[in-house]
Amino acid sequence: MSDIEFRHAVRDALDEELARDESVIFFGEDIAAAGGVFAVTTGLYEKHGPDRVFDTAISELAISGAAFGSAVAGLRPVVEVMFGDFLLLALDSLINQSAKYWYLSNEQASVPLVLRSAVGGGGRFGAIHSQMPITWLLGVPGIKIVCPSTPGDAKALLKAAIRDDNPVVFLEHKRLYSIKGPVTEEVAEIGKASVVREGSDVTIVSAMKGVHDCLAAAEILAAQGVQAEVIDLRTLRPLDTDTVLTSTKKTNRILVVEEGPETGGWAGEILACVVDQALEHLDDAWRLATPDRPVPYSPPLEDAFYPDAQKIADSVLGRMTQGEPLIAGAAR
């Protein structure tokens, strides 16, 4: 099996689900004739036709609203909100209609929609095209938040999202679109994290691009004699706390690496969970997130803004040598 780009994995999942189920439709800004501003959705319009794949106006609220109504009435709409930053314009329908419908209706009907969006920084897009919208959504019951890190997961999780009977926000990190990896015909299970590297000394938890940074950090740490276990969350709501707790009980240390503002994020949520449920196993628990400031534009400022592999490794080494000098000569 040949490796394919993340963007093509997303496209293939859409293509296969459109072909498999005629209730699937796909709409958004520039996604049809133009093929998407990140060249993710090329060819879908030509293959599946203008009734099922269509362009909309720059009307994020109408997009999310039309997704809601059509989902209740029997379709499985997939919609694209071009940048995660634009989600704010779509949130009323998503939060006040789609997320609440299953409960408020006394479970008369659910809302099987998928809202895809390109998120994250590192691309010099500036403060309003680089944000992580997750903190805005994390506290909303009734929405699933899926955040793949590899082409294989992008395809398998998007297929699962489209087949899910609930509203799913599917986030694609812009810096991952060009990475390559294997894909399968599998349909993944939403809500399951995966241990992507095994280790015994510290658990490092992340999602999306952060997983790649953590894996690179684990290499740096291994060279220093520290074996890091790396967990890819894959879904942020519902959180797979079992996988996180099992690993943490083994390593007794947990670092959560979140691209997103430190205050109110999922890193804090995971730390709360391990404190609540595994306190007696903890030697240390902390997080690395981005500062509580807008994402800067200037390259040196933006580069300094994110927790990269070296910072992650340094943080682990620094924390681990504070109380018990495991690693001779490691910088504090």
Partner: protein, 331 residues
């Protein structure tokens, strides 16, 4: 109160006696329902807040009566009339008002969040433009599924200044969706006269998008019904959305805490002369010779029905937090 009128779309629009009586009765049920809700509110049985449809009954009854099985309606937080006219039973709706487990949403929704999927009521929405989005989305599905179903969105004139209105009307017109937008203009955006906060005429807005648009006397159920019949036929035939501005007036405050001191001198009295129930009674009397005593008897019968509904609602069980099996997601 499933409408006898609902099956008559293909027939002549000329008023007949039986249909006219049915429309009157439906409006009377809504009026009595709202009066009952108000009374129960004052007794502490209906909680939070309520927004009554009193005075606007001809809108929901006139429109919903021309819909078919399979058509959808999206209503507002002032949605008791929309719900009843679309076929939600008064009992299940009253039980919901009282937060009972036998309510149409099991008591989870309340006055502003009524949903009855089986009856084609996608919902009544607490955010004013939510109904517009819901109906637009339903129309996307209707078009896709080729079922020739039509979606109706009810909303107030205040919604014409919200993003939902502009985005979804454009969306629906570009895609030629089978949706009828019914703007119930009762002159006041909550406590503020609409003209104080609105530039230009509301109807000019859909017209600027090329949407077929019409103003109608919202207190004359037959006028509303005739406009709705045309609009629904247009939408169903694939020619795209239609906008109806239904000119009406609410006889009560915006919500239960609003004494409506903002009304202009004599305005309420003038509108009360155009009470949709009085307009309908006059027509029943003039065109069909229905004596006032018969209508009084019908009124008494409806009121007695609503008294029973209230009694049963009061006796219905509350949901039990200990046994409520709510799940965040559908499995």
């Amino acid at each position: 109160m499933t409408s006898k009128a609902a099956v008559k779309e293909s027939e002549s629009t000329a008023p007949d006696r039986e249909l006219s009586l049915d429309l009157y009765r439906q409006m009377r049920v809504i009026r009595s329902f709202e009066e009952t809700v108000q009374a129960l509110f004052l007794r502490g049985q209906v909680h939070g807040t309520t927004h009554l449809y009193t005075g606007q009954e001809a809108g929901a009854v006139g429109v919903c009566g021309v819909l078919r099985e399979g058509d959808w309606v999206a209503g507002t937080y002032r949605g008791h009339g929309h719900s009843l006219a679309k076929g939600v039973t008064a009992q299940r709706l009253m039980d919901e008002m009282l937060g009972r487990s036998t309510g149409v949403c099991g008591g989870r929704g309340g006055s502003m969040n009524v949903i009855d999927v089986e009856r084609g009521l996608i919902g009544c929405f607490g955010i004013i433009g939510g109904s517009i989005a819901a109906a637009t989305g339903v129309a996307v599905a209707a078009k896709q599924q080729g079922r020739q179903a039509v979606a109706v969105a009810f909303f107030g004139e205040g919604t014409s200044n919200q993003a939902y209105f502009h985005e979804c009307l454009n969306f629906a017109q570009v895609l030629k969706l089978p949706v009828v937008f019914v703007c119930e203009n009762n002159l006041y955006m909550e406590f503020t006269p609409i003209e104080d906060v609105t530039a230009g005429e509301i109807i000019a807005r859909p017209q600027a998008m090329g949407i077929r648009s019409e103003q109608v006397d919202g207190n004359d159920v037959w006028a509303v019904r005739a406009a709705a019949e045309d609009a629904v036929a247009h939408a169903r035939s694939g020619q795209g959305p239609v906008f109806i501005e239904s000119l009406t007036y609410r006889f009560v405050g915006h919500s239960r805490s609003d004494p409506a001191r903002y009304r202009k001198e004599g305005e309420l009295d003038r509108w009360r002369e155009r009470d949709p129930l009085l307009v309908a009674r006059a027509r029943l009397s003039e065109e069909f010779g229905v004596p006032a005593e018969s209508l009084d008897a019908l009124d008494a019968e409806v009121e007695a029905e609503l008294e029973l509904v209230a009694e049963r609602a009061m006796a219905a069980p509350y949901p039990d937090p200990a046994t409520e099996m709510a799940s965040e997601f559908k499995a």
